[in-house]
Symmetry: C2
Subunit: 462 residues, 2 copies
């Protein structure tokens, strides 16, 4: 029955040990590495870890686990933020990091196929000579497989979309060991149910992704970056709305709030004005980015935007983005010895100003420290809550505040997670957000994984 998996037996593990040799480990340090997330959740160790090198090896391992009713947890490089890879019911962690080859690039089709353990930075390094790049940038150097599994995105989703829009096809090992290919290499298709879309964002609960075909883009001829301070949050958000309405194809448009600027000033010794600030990037031809930047500047000026400056010089661009890039380190420094977790709500952009304003009030009322950064073109923003993990009182406050922030977003017609996924901690919100639709998700889960062995306890309870 779903969710009821037999305790992993030593006998069953022995079979995997025989199959994988020194690519099998049940050493405590290895299990610990794969069973501890940078979250609230306590460590939950898998019984063993294997490192397959091919789709066929994954399928063989899955068949073995299925025969013994052993839970299976896929693992990339462990950058997930919602406890996705914690072994809630024990079982075998399938570490895909050694399946890290770029299998094929087509410069004419602007696509490539990778093994799931290829990281996004590795992919772009290997693509450099082609003039192409893969845009999705969730911050961490996550694997493409993991990014597909959590439907990741990041700072440039406003221009390039999320993994939902950029995965063209997948190879998946099903919970019974069968291998299927979803999607294809045609840019579009109306042939049957969109299984690619179903597996993207399924968080390892329906199968294991062993190959990913993704869209690529030509490296932009020119890039301009800019920073603009605003008198009010409303001015910043209205500038974003008008920029998008006008069809300016902004590549990145990030909000950094006053508290985040203060943190950066303290951390880096900069003297930025402590006001709501937008960080921007434009991609295009030299004339195109100049036009986009100028158009944006005019919109911003009408909304109280101050001192918008932009540049195509690489060093200056890098310097401009310092405040955004160092945000997390600066935040951690606000509370020496503290740790940080990030909320991840996303709301319709028309509700963003109200939602951020109410969220800021809730953070301040809690007494916690919580700078805000946002992928504001999508309505997605993160409150970085900095706290002492040893203080039960603070941990309780952080949990309560996190819940309050999600409730605010849902009340504004938003989602509990824009890009991190449900994992273990947001299962209740998924139901609040999607109601009876979650029953359909459960029915699909039961249809594809009737024994409930694929990453049990994630996304929803069986």
């Amino acid at each position: 029955m779903m969710g009821e998996v037999a305790a992993t037996t030593g006998l069953a593990l022995d079979g995997l040990r025989a199959m994988f040799g020194d690519r099998f480990s049940d050493r405590h340090a290895v299990r610990e590495h794969h069973g501890r997330a940078e979250t609230f959740f306590p460590a939950m160790l898998p019984d063993a870890v294997i490192y397959p090198h091919s789709t066929e090896e994954v399928a063989a391992a899955v068949r073995h686990c299925a025969a013994h009713q052993i839970p299976i947890i896929p693992y990339g490089v462990g950058t997930s933020l919602e406890g996705h890879f914690l072994a809630l019911h024990g079982g075998v962690c399938i570490d895909l990091s050694q399946m890290n080859h770029l299998l094929r690039v087509s410069e004419e089709d602007l696509d490539c196929t990778v093994e799931p353990g290829v990281t996004r930075k590795q992919l772009n390094e290997e693509l450099r000579h082609t003039g192409l790049f893969f845009p999705i940038d969730p911050g961490a150097d996550a694997t493409i497989g993991g990014m597909a599994a959590t439907r990741a995105s990041g700072t440039n989703a406003v221009r390039y979309g999320t993994m939902r829009q950029n995965v063209l096809g997948l190879t998946v090992v099903l919970p019974d060991g069968r291998i299927i290919h979803t999607g294809g290499r045609a840019r579009k298709s109306s042939a049957g149910y969109d299984l690619t879309g179903l597996f993207v964002g399924s968080e390892g609960t329906l199968g294991i992704i062993t190959e990913v075909t993704v869209r690529l883009y030509g490296q932009p001829e020119a890039i301009s970056s800019g920073v603009c301070e605003f008198e009010t949050l409303r001015g910043a958000v209205d500038t974003v709305i008008q920029t998008i309405q006008l069809g300016i194809p902004v590549a990145r448009i990030e909000l950094v709030d006053e508290l985040q600027i203060r943190a950066v000033n303290q951390y880096s010794g900069t003297k930025l004005a402590e006001r709501p600030t937008l960080f921007l990037e434009f991609h295009g031809t030299p004339a195109g980015v100049a036009e986009q930047s100028t158009q944006f500047g005019e919109i911003a000026a009408a909304q109280g935007g101050d001192g918008f400056r932009w540049t195509t010089n690489t060093e200056e661009r890098t310097a401009l983005w310092e405040a955004r890039h160092k945000a997390l380190y600066a935040d951690m420094a606000l509370r020496p010895g503290g740790t940080a977790i990030s909320t991840d709500v996303c709301v319709p952009i028309s509700r963003l100003c109200e939602c951020i304003t109410q969220t800021r009030a809730a953070v301040d009322a809690s007494g916690l420290i919580g700078p805000i950064v946002g992928h504001v073109g999508d309505g997605n923003f993160h409150v970085v809550l900095v706290f002492d993990p040893e203080s039960a009182d603070e941990v309780a406050k952080v949990k309560a505040l996190s819940e309050q922030i999600v409730e605010l977003a849902l009340a504004h017609g938003g989602t509990c997670t824009g890009e991190h996924g449900i994992g273990m901690g947001k299962k209740g919100y998924l139901i609040e957000e999607h109601g009876e639709a979650v029953d359909v998700m459960r029915a699909i889960k039961r249809a594809i994984d009737p024994a409930g062995i694929m990453n049990p306890g994630k996304v929803f309870d069986a």
Copy 2:
């Protein structure tokens, strides 16, 4: 059991008649109108047609049909090309054309929610004053619900994507009458399985779409259109590839082949050169479309493109597109008394030149008339086969050639349908294209529609 539905009884229909009054009909003419498609397939009439006015009425009808094991066939305005709405097993046709209200527009969020019977032209008419538009253009004035159900696209998918990328959320009546809401109004979400993506393209086999939330775009400030003739097909296709590689955000890029130009010349008395020709459209700022057009012209010239001319004048733009817009009428005129059907393959663009060349050879060898038009930026092209529907010999030839064209596309890594869907005629190709993945589709179908009452016999056989 799936696919085994009881014969519709008069008693069961009486229940619907009582519920829907004069919005229930079992008149032959009405049934005929809903059971005859412009395809090879013979007419297959539903036993009755109802015209609900709300999601709740749809749900009540579905519950009634489920209780009596009556097949349910959703219907928009009947523009589908693959027999999607034929009543293969009888049953009740749910005609959604009276659910045709624009429920909500948000200019700030660039989205709107419509009832499924709103047509794309109606939507754009109602949006005109907002400065926004809905781009997806499959040619016919289809309903938004039908376009979602078949994952439609059209000439400007190269810029704006297909229904897959443009549907943000749905209200769906499930086969047991439950009402669910998928997706949401946030621009992105990682909350749970992508049910929106699953229902988009499910061709009425999983439930009935009763509300659709779609993305909108700002009406472009400037539009330029152009035409360019090429010495060779290769030159035209390579121009398309380089245009996309360079990131020129072309809004439309359509291939019209020599035979199609000849047909247009004969039909309209024009004197266009009978060569492979690209028809283009660029959207942006005045400076932007000028730059895009100029850049394109330079690429085309290097590939043997001749006499590229472009204009932003509305009348001139309309005149330029005449040849493309009149293609179907011109084709029908090639064979007085003939009818036409359209193939719909889509291949990776790197394979497009070979695939079209082989397809042209196959058409010519068959002795049939088949001009080619293509949404070439996506690798999707249509052969318009013109034939005498009364000639059993010609019909047999058309069927054989259609199969051959699909086989060629699959051999090039393509799909049997870029935008029309599987419907009744391509079920075999779906299996050829997706193999065991179709078993997963079947498992999902069984999980969501265990009685098999939703549009039975479409997409795949149970």
